[in-house]
């Protein structure tokens, strides 16, 4: 059952008089107990979409729905909503107050929400996050902890409110390789024990492969491919997904896309990926007779359906019976 949903969400910013369409029409659903990875490069709008799902940004059009009801943006409604949907921020060191002990850091949320049994709540959240025995960590300051332990404290801070969804923005990007697996295993365990859903925002496809049920690949404000992880990552249909996978260190033949991730203030016409597309540049799109459409015909917004979906003229042409 769908728990958290984005329906045709558009988010815009104005930067130096120019309108940036950071999220340009996205449908995305996170089911109960489901882990969804939202993957893309810096500037693709994935963090903005996550912030919108948390109620931190208001969509210009479209809606965020939680448990079937659209989000209301009153202070009181948002406060209640944030008990249910909690953010796990990117950089644990930056998001912990260096002058607060672990106990105070984890107790902050329950205090704001006036929840009873603070001490037991903090102890239980810490042990769920793998900091055991929790009492030993109560008086400790962040600088006395390792990076992995700090990330566990941040996760415990979210768990103390007993949320149903975690939105984790690059939860392991600032951690050492050796700690990474432990934190990812923790997210899987929380799902198994508490039935937690999670939206994990990342540029790391290995992370999606490690823990996600479904993956959505975002490019320039749109989801260009989505579906079950095994299907999308083992047999990617979109040239962009193919390129992202091909540059992983283990890959035999990397397709290194030129240039920087493009600019949301100037989204190209036609398929928004066409200026960097290796399939168009390599002539395969022309062979399939879709190159004109790639350059001029915009693609439909993908629905938030559970199956594999791709927004690509070339992939659609290949799928149609010859």
């Amino acid at each position: 059952m769908t728990l958290l949903e984005a329906i045709d969400v558009h988010v815009e910013f104005t930067a130096r008089g120019r309108r940036a369409r950071a999220v340009d029409g996205v449908n995305l659903a996170v089911g109960e107990g489901e882990i969804v990875a939202l993957v893309g490069e810096s500037g693709c709008g994935k963090t903005t979409l996550a912030r919108t799902l948390l109620g931190l940004e208001r969509p210009a059009s479209g809606a965020v729905r939680y448990g079937g009801a659209p989000l209301t943006y009153s202070t009181r409604a948002l406060k209640a909503y944030r008990r249910e949907v909690q953010l796990v921020p990117q950089d644990p060191t930056g998001s912990l107050n260096p002058r607060h002990t672990v106990y105070e850091a984890v107790a902050e949320g329950p205090r704001i929400h006036g929840l009873p049994g603070e001490r037991e709540r903090v102890a239980s959240a810490l042990s769920r996050a793998g900091l055991r025995p929790p009492e030993r960590f109560f008086p400790v300051y962040p600088h006395e902890l390792s990076g992995g332990q700090r990330q566990r404290v941040v996760i415990a801070g979210a768990l103390a409110l007993e949320p149903r969804v975690l939105v984790a923005d690059e939860p392991v990007a600032s951690l050492d390789a050796s700690v990474r697996g432990e934190i990812l295993a923790l997210l899987l365990r929380l799902r198994a024990e508490l039935g937690l859903s999670a939206l994990v925002v990342t540029h790391d496809l290995g992370l999606a492969w490690n823990i996600a049920d479904r993956v959505a690949v975002m490019y320039l404000g749109r989801i260009v491919e989505s579906g079950p992880v095994e299907q999308v990552l083992s047999a990617p249909s979109h040239p962009y997904t193919q390129a992202l996978l091909s540059v992983l260190p283990e890959s035999p033949s990397p397709i290194v896309l030129g240039g920087e991730p493009p600019d949301p203030t100037g989204i190209p016409g036609g398929c928004r990926f066409h200026p960097r597309c290796q399939v168009l540049a390599g002539g395969q799109a022309a062979e399939a007779g879709v190159d004109g459409r790639c350059r001029s015909q915009p693609l439909d917004i993908l629905p938030a359906a559970p199956g594999s979906r791709v927004a690509c003229h070339f992939a659609e042409a290949g799928r149609a019976p010859a």
Binding site: A177, G181, L248, P249
Partner: protein, 394 residues
């Protein structure tokens, strides 16, 4: 160690080019040799041993990857190579760059060596670049400081360098904040190349970058070292990135090298349990064994001031034996055949004692011994590579 083992500097450029085309094993000369390097930070709480005796060599045109987690000493080691550490650090041992000991160099000589012989690509280019100076001026700075170029010549050179790293020449007028993370990292690489060094030390050059930009920067680094015969020391916690870029890997734990060998071998057939954990930390997408099964390493990095006796990795080791608590480990040959024999072949040159020929000539004798650089051997500091522990655990 005053005798240069590399070709003299007066050698004409054409000959250098010829030599660079020869395969790595037959290339002669060590560019860099570390002998029992130790770095200790003095702090209010006492001495902190960050690097505890590292011996490594780097041949000309060779790329060496140094892996390890935060606190393993890998960045300290890299910064020690050019004496870039703070005053609280005490460095002992020998760091021989082109046969000359960096640790005993005068400041004047050291200034000449930095940038011109060896340069550093720092981690996090947004902090390493000056935010209020145009990037062109920053790239030109080492050229002007070292007196290798006139201001006019430096301008042309900056344009050349920007082109080499894949940036348009007009970018020299940009300030760092006008560039993306990948572009700033390219500027750092252009600076490092400015004085045509023989060695580039890259400390986590791609860590903060996106996958696609990381791929662009790694491809650039690979091309530059291959085309110009530059040697590379690359530091990272990501073994897969190092394995894709470097010929040889050294894995550090608690200030020591715990495994070293050819990249592929260390990455795909690691013998030390710590290296294995690092190699498995980043899954291969498509490998069903890692699907829904992230693999990590329990426990936390050791406190360098309270290292356990015996093997430092023992408290986190999944395969520790009782004797690991007391038995000292050293780098033992790890490429034993299944029956416990050390395979024939030359030893790793790092292991050859002073004055002794590093390794035997190949059996066919085609390459004269003085030209032979032995094939690097795979070594690991774990009792499990020895034939005895099997009996002990039985």
């Amino acid at each position: 160690m005053t005798q240069r083992e590399t070709q003299p500097e007066t050698q004409p450029e054409t000959q250098r080019e010829v030599r660079r085309e020869t395969p790595p094993e037959t290339r002669r000369g060590r560019l860099l040799e570390l002998r029992d390097v130790a770095v200790t930070y003095r702090s209010a709480a006492g001495d902190v041993p960050a690097v505890r005796g590292v011996s490594l060599t780097l041949g000309e045109g060779e790329a060496l990857g140094v892996a390890g987690e935060s606190g393993s000493g890998k960045s300290t080691l890299a910064m020690a190579l050019l004496r870039l550490l703070p005053k609280t650090a005490r460095v002992t041992g020998g760091i021989l760059l082109d046969g000359e000991d960096v640790l005993t160099m005068s400041w004047g000589r050291l200034r000449a060596v930095r940038w011109a012989s060896a340069s550093v690509v720092f981690q996090g280019a947004q902090h390493a670049l000056n935010p209020v100076r145009r990037v062109g001026a920053q790239i030109a700075e080492p050229l002007l400081v070292h007196g290798t170029a006139t201001p006019a010549r430096a301008r042309t050179r900056v344009a050349e360098l920007l082109e080499q790293v894949g940036l348009p020449a007009w970018r020299e007028r940009s300030y760092p904040h006008e560039l993306s993370g990948g572009q700033r990292q390219r500027v750092m690489i252009a600076m490092a190349l400015a004085c045509e060094p023989h060695l580039i030390i890259a400390d986590e050059p791609t860590t903060a970058l996106d996958v696609m930009i990381q791929a662009q920067v790694l491809a650039l680094i690979r091309t530059l070292i291959a085309d110009r015969g530059i040697s590379l020391i690359m530091i990272s916690h990501d073994l897969s990135v190092l394995a894709a870029t470097c010929d040889r890997l050294a894995v550090m734990y608690a200030g020591k090298v715990v495994e070293t060998g050819p990249s592929r071998e260390v990455f795909t057939a690691a013998r030390h349990p710590y290296s294995r954990a690092l190699a498995e930390a980043f899954p291969t997408v498509g490998d069903l064994a890692s699907r829904m099964a992230p693999r990590g390493l329990g426990g936390d990095p050791p406190d360098p001031m309270r290292l356990p006796g015996g093997c430092s990795f023992r408290p986190r080791c999944p395969v520790a034996l009782p004797s690991c608590a007391t038995r000292d480990v050293e780098l033992w040959p790890a490429d034993r055949t299944p029956d416990g024999q050390i395979p024939d072949g030359p030893a790793l040159d790092a292991q050859a004692p002073d004055g002794q020929a590093p390794g035997a000539p190949p059996p066919d004798g085609r390459i004269p011994p003085e030209h032979a650089r032995p094939v690097p051997r795979h070594t690991a500091a774990c009792v499990h590579v020895l034939p005895e522990p099997a009996k002990e655990s039985a």
